[in-house]
Amino acid sequence: MTRLLSAFGWRHRGAANAALLGLPFLWFACLYLAAIGALFITAFWTVDELSGDLIPGFSLTNFRQLLSGPTYIHIAWRTISIAAAVTVTDAVLAWPIAYAMIRLAGPRLRAALMALVLVPLWSSYLARVYAWRLILAHDGVLNWALTKIGLPDLHIGYSNWAMWIVFSYLWLPFMILPIAAAVERIPPSLLEASADLGARGMATFRRVVLPMALPGMAAGAIFTFSLTLGDFVTPMLVGGRGSDFIGNVVYANVGVTNNIPFAAAYAVLPLGVMAVFLLITRRLGAFDAL
């Protein structure tokens, strides 16, 4: 039976490919594209005030509402700028770790470092966010340590600073791994050639390593940026006043007010932002490294 099938596949390449790609394609078309399509269409609907029923149709009410005051523009700006700040922070933090892991560490140390990077991913996201909440709280480990060494208390618990720190911590492995993979792919002979030609360490890094590992960094940036952009749990747990993200507004409109069309209209924005971001990272070669 298996033989017959494989013989059939050999003779009819098209059928074999269809069988192979059919399921993923079906999944993509039905679950992914259809969901985004539904999102786009719902964004133009409205809600009946009394019964909460959806009123299909075409109306720009939701978009007009979004642009009518500074609130939603401000929230979108906060979301995008924190996502950008987290991406830059992670890129800066990830470089030394990734480079040391691949170029400087021996095989055993490398395995140990890799494990250290990956182990946090095995614990629950929520547990890690709550841990940070305890660290940054008024009477937390951070202020305790600062007092011990004679520095004044920091009041960064429940603030945008707290969100920036927690997001940077959460998504760091997603930046380290693609950069490490990209650094690993640089042939050592190129570094030797650079040294032979008289370049010092920094010059080699800037002119050889960095450009060649840029696609890896761009790939990591896609993860850190999109994961931050879509999150709503961390702002809820470690954010303070004025820490709502786009996701929190969407969540509140679906859950609290049952205004799904308005939520859909706002959710279109991150899609647009991600589209622009992906175009930029493609320019930087992110997809060559994936």
């Binding site: 133009f44 409205t46 809600v47 009946d48 005030e49 009394l50 019964s51 909460g52 029923d53 009123i55 299909p56 149709g57 075409f58 109306s59 509402q65 005051g69 609130t71 939603y72 401000h74 929230i75 909440r133 709280a137 008024h138 009477d139 937390g140 009041h155 618990g157 429940y158 809820m236 747990l237 954010g239 303070g240 006043r241 004025g242 709502d244 507004v249 509140a252 409109n253 859950g255 609290v256 007010t257 049952n258 205004n259």
Partner: protein, 382 residues
């Protein structure tokens, strides 16, 4: 163009349904005339802690109705769950007052025949036909338990109890205030302003016109600068008070009990302006597949014994006035602790959550509905 016509149609339908209230609802579902044989299954949407084994197991043994409870995290999730699957997925829901009108006007719940609920006559008078579950004399649910939203404070910061809600708007406590992250919180500020600025003419904190809302929002925007965190979960607030990040805020008795049990120096009070509060109602879905079991459940949980068990477990007050004795038998002193014996003046201090609607209920229709409340709340938080 088509959209405009549709919208006009929708408006027309809306006007019609407003002028002929419940014409469709009443035609669709007549209340049960007698409780028949149980269907063997009961699917509930409930607050966490409302379907404890302590009273569910004996119910299952007595009636043969197997209880499946789905816990909801918010009033709005409850509404969404009751509408899911065409409304026939769940039999009954323990809705709070800010969800009940939405369920009634959405025709998601059926009228209740109070003749089939024997304990109803023992309810405190205010909860027999409250406006959040009884419309034009038709009962759409049976009241269950209630509690006030209290002012929680650190006894270190306040050696004597604050007497006014003004402390949560006071710049003296900048960065140390916490209030719930919930649009219904606007009503708390409206209640305070109804006393602090009588000129605004706020008579009902859930019925605000544009000018009143603007004044309330201005106050809340000023408060936003003093807030440490808008709490989403009760455990958030417990942690804020435990760590000392907050010293004063709006809370439920549950937080006070938990914090005091953990020896955190806090206490709560209902200030002079009164307080908002929640009152939960058991309602039956208009398409309930197991209505007999649903009625049996409501009869079970309104008995003094279960009312007492529920009150002590959650830290709230039962609707059934006979529950006081049972509470003290269960755990001495709890009847007084949870105000089950309180005079009706205590109850009258509490303004219960209800869904804000554009119909002010006094012939005027210039009030702001819940969608606008949510939008204003978002603008306040920034």
């Amino acid at each position: 163009m088509r959209g405009r016509i549709r919208r006009r149609m929708a408006k027309l339908v809306l006007c019609l349904s407003a002028s002929l209230p419940f014409a469709q609802g009443a035609a669709a579902a007549q209340p049960l005339s007698a409780i028949g044989k149980g269907e063997g299954v009961l699917n509930l949407v409930a607050w966490e802690g409302y379907a404890q084994d302590q009273w569910v197991k004996p119910f299952e043994a007595a009636t043969g109705c197997q209880v499946h409870a789905k816990y909801a995290g918010s009033s709005d999730e409850m509404v969404a769950l009751m509408r899911s699957g065409g409304g026939s997925q769940y039999d009954a829901v323990s809705a709070s007052g800010d969800a009940t009108l939405r369920l009634i006007y959405g025709r998601d719940v059926q009228p209740i025949n109070m003749a089939l609920i024997p304990q109803w006559k023992n309810f405190i008078p205010q909860l027999k036909a409250p406006e959040f579950n009884t419309v034009k004399g038709v009962h759409y649910g049976v009241s269950y338990e209630w509690g006030p939203n209290t002012l929680l404070y650190s006894t270190k910061t306040f050696p004597t109890a604050p007497t006014s809600w003004s402390v949560i708007y006071d710049a003296k406590y900048r960065g140390k205030v916490t209030v719930p992250d919930n649009p219904i919180q606007i009503a708390d500020a409206a209640l305070y302003l109804s006393k602090a600025q009588p000129a605004l003419g706020i008579t009902d904190p859930y019925e605000l016109n544009r000018a009143q809302m603007d004044a309330v929002v201005a106050l809340l925007k000023k408060q936003a600068g003093l807030i440490k965190k808008y709490w989403a979960l009760a455990s958030d607030e417990i942690q804020l008070f435990t760590s000392g990040d907050a010293v004063v805020g709006a809370a439920w008795p549950y937080q006070t009990n938990t914090l005091q049990a953990a020896k955190v120096p806090v206490a709560d009070t209902i200030p002079a302006e009164g307080a908002t509060g929640w009152a939960d109602t058991w309602m039956i879905s208009s398409k309930a597949p197991h209505p007999n079991c649903a009625y049996m459940w409501i009869n079970w949980v309104t008995t003094p014994k279960v009312q007492a068990e529920q009150a002590i477990y959650f830290g709230e007050t039962p609707a059934n006035s006979l529950a006081c004795k049972e509470m003290d038998e269960e755990q001495a002193g709890t009847c007084a602790k949870y105000h089950a014996n309180a005079p009706s003046s205590y109850f009258d201090q509490v303004r219960f959550w209800k869904t804000p609607r554009s119909d002010c209920g006094n012939g005027k229709t210039d009030c702001l509905d819940y969608t606008i409340w949510q939008r204003e709340w978002q603008a306040i938080k920034g």
